[in-house]
Symmetry: C2
Subunit: 347 residues, 2 copies
């Protein structure tokens, strides 16, 4: 009798264990994953506001038009959209962007989607905000390449429609058509560019928004330590980090030359090879990877990151799962952003 | 008595004449103008079909995506949209377009809107159709600059999504991902790019669609002889004509060098300085003007055309009226065309 009872007891335990594991995989563990991911990453906001540059519909409307304006570049070929085309998830697919008169930019071009969430802009943080980035790009030798802000303002003022739209967007200003307001308008537009993704539906409780592979990848992403740096709802953009903690990055990338990173800005020895941790939203849509665009495939980028940032040889399954999770960060481009504005013509 | 009768008779005649003239200006003359313009120019069709390349929704969908595809250019920066951005009415505002690696195109870039209606493409007619233009652009040294069609096909085939979309657009083809089918898809898309304008509403009987100045300009445009060459619903694109019938064009334009025009294609002496008569639809939105983009303002272009093509010194009023009429050819860009497609990503 005792043996039977024991056997029954063992069977019951096995059954209960199985039940528990099932729940863990398809019920309780989803909730646990959601809880953890909500704490580590968190829900995407509706926009990326700024106290210095409040988002208004008039600024956003103007900013979206200016985003396409190429006639304020020194050779007439550069607009924000040149290097950040919406059709390619607001990146350009090049290792390094090509600006006016074929000048190459120093680093790979990040998407402007979700970019305003970051502590600073550009890989080395040498732009304080999207507004600062937009303004400085006007004079940037490898971007718009204009000789002065006055020269940009002169062109913009020559369009009656711009005079009207700037006045509407900046009604308090005596002379609203300025490079500063160009930057504010473009910045306000860019502050609306958040791209909600399946991952966000998952965080909101839609357990079917991610498949098992993606859930496993999310777990690995957090457990392996990726989210230590790629944190916040934007999955990055919140800190600088040395690229190559365990080994120099150029041992694994196909980098053609060594980039000192943030050292170029601060001149602090301790900032050598530090770069801003990039936002991973839409990363599956914006190859090539790293500050120099030296790696073409997401899986390779994940493998390298594991190796040199975490000192880990990730397994192929871990890499595939993380890639699947990252694909769940591919967001929906807002309808309005997918509509091209028609630019003003001179009278 | 006789004198009184005569006086009354004279007054009546004057009155009746005035009545007639009033009608002529505000009623009957509109109808007359509509009748004449319908005969000389005519109603805009819904699309620009081709027997060789029937328009299908699948081809148009694919063609619109390919229109934005820059990854099939030698430096990754050139797509159809690079030189024909929708935001600038599918022209680029430059005197001459800048293609891959900053190479300048030989002539000013015409809009692709309504372009498929023409007897041939390019200013000198060295492209037989929009399909021929799209295909040859892939290898064109100052456009996409690719080394071979095979190299383009290889890139397109590396995208699983393109394989699917080409198969859908060309279901009969064993290997649908070809440069020829690229050209057919882009061509089918471009064959839908007609832009109905206020002028078309006027032709349909909406007399208020044009204001008095525009109506006067339309009358002048036909009476002065402009519509002799700028004919058809597309207001051009139907013939070649010598640029500079009465005097050499370079006497009046700011041309930097003399372009022999269609002579470069045919080597016939009689084709020297002949160019395709450009479509004037959306001309007010697509400065600068002429084959070399040498003239910035529409009014100057009209003045020069009067002088050297018609041997006439148009008055300022005539010029202003014609410019106003030409502005009534500024069309509505179809909603769907104003939406940016999202391009495929490699698996």
């Amino acid at each position: 009798m005792r043996k039977v009872t024991l056997t029954l007891g063992f069977a019951t335990t096995l059954f209960l264990s199985f039940l528990f594991l099932s729940n863990a995989s398809f019920g309780a563990s989803d909730e646990e994953l959601i809880r953890k991911a909500s704490a580590v990453l968190g829900p995407l906001p509706a926009s990326m506001p700024s106290e210095q540059n409040p988002i208004t519909p008039e600024k956003v409307k103007l900013g979206k038009i200016l985003y396409y304006e190429s006639r304020i570049s020194v050779d007439g070929t550069v607009s924000c959209s040149r290097c950040h085309p919406i059709s390619l998830y607001a990146a350009d697919g090049l290792r390094k962007s090509i600006g006016n008169r074929c000048k190459e930019n120093p680093r790979n071009d990040p998407t402007v989607f979700n970019a305003a969430s970051q502590i600073a802009e550009h890989w080395i943080g040498n732009r304080t905000s999207v507004e600062d980035q937009a303004k400085q790009a006007l004079l940037g030798p490898p971007s718009f390449g204009m000789p002065s802000y006055a020269s940009v303002e002169k062109i913009l003022r020559s369009f009656k429609d711009y005079q009207t739209m700037f006045k509407q967007a900046f009604p308090e200003d005596k002379e609203p058509v300025t490079a500063d307001n160009f930057a504010k308008a473009v910045g306000a537009f860019e502050r609306t560019l958040v791209t909600p993704a399946p991952f966000d539906s998952f965080l909101k409780g839609d357990k079917s928004a991610l498949d098992d592979k993606q859930k496993s990848g999310l777990g690995t992403f957090m457990d392996a330590g990726c989210s230590g740096c790629h944190s916040s709802p934007f999955v990055g953009g919140q800190m600088y980090q040395k690229f190559g903690i365990f080994e120099p990055y150029w041992k694994y990338t196909k980098s053609k030359k060594i980039d000192v990173g943030r050292f170029a800005v601060t001149k602090n020895e301790s900032d050598k090879y530090f770069f801003k941790v990039p936002v991973l939203r839409n990363v599956a849509k914006t190859p090539p990877y790293f500050h120099d665009g030296s790696v073409d495939h997401l899986e390779d980028a994940i493998r390298i990151m594991g190796k040199i940032q975490l000192g880990k040889d990730l397994t192929q399954k871990q890499i595939d799962d993380i890639a699947a999770f990252l694909d769940s960060l591919t967001g929906k481009i807002p309808e309005d952003v997918l509509t091209v504005p028609v630019l003003p013509t001179k009278e």
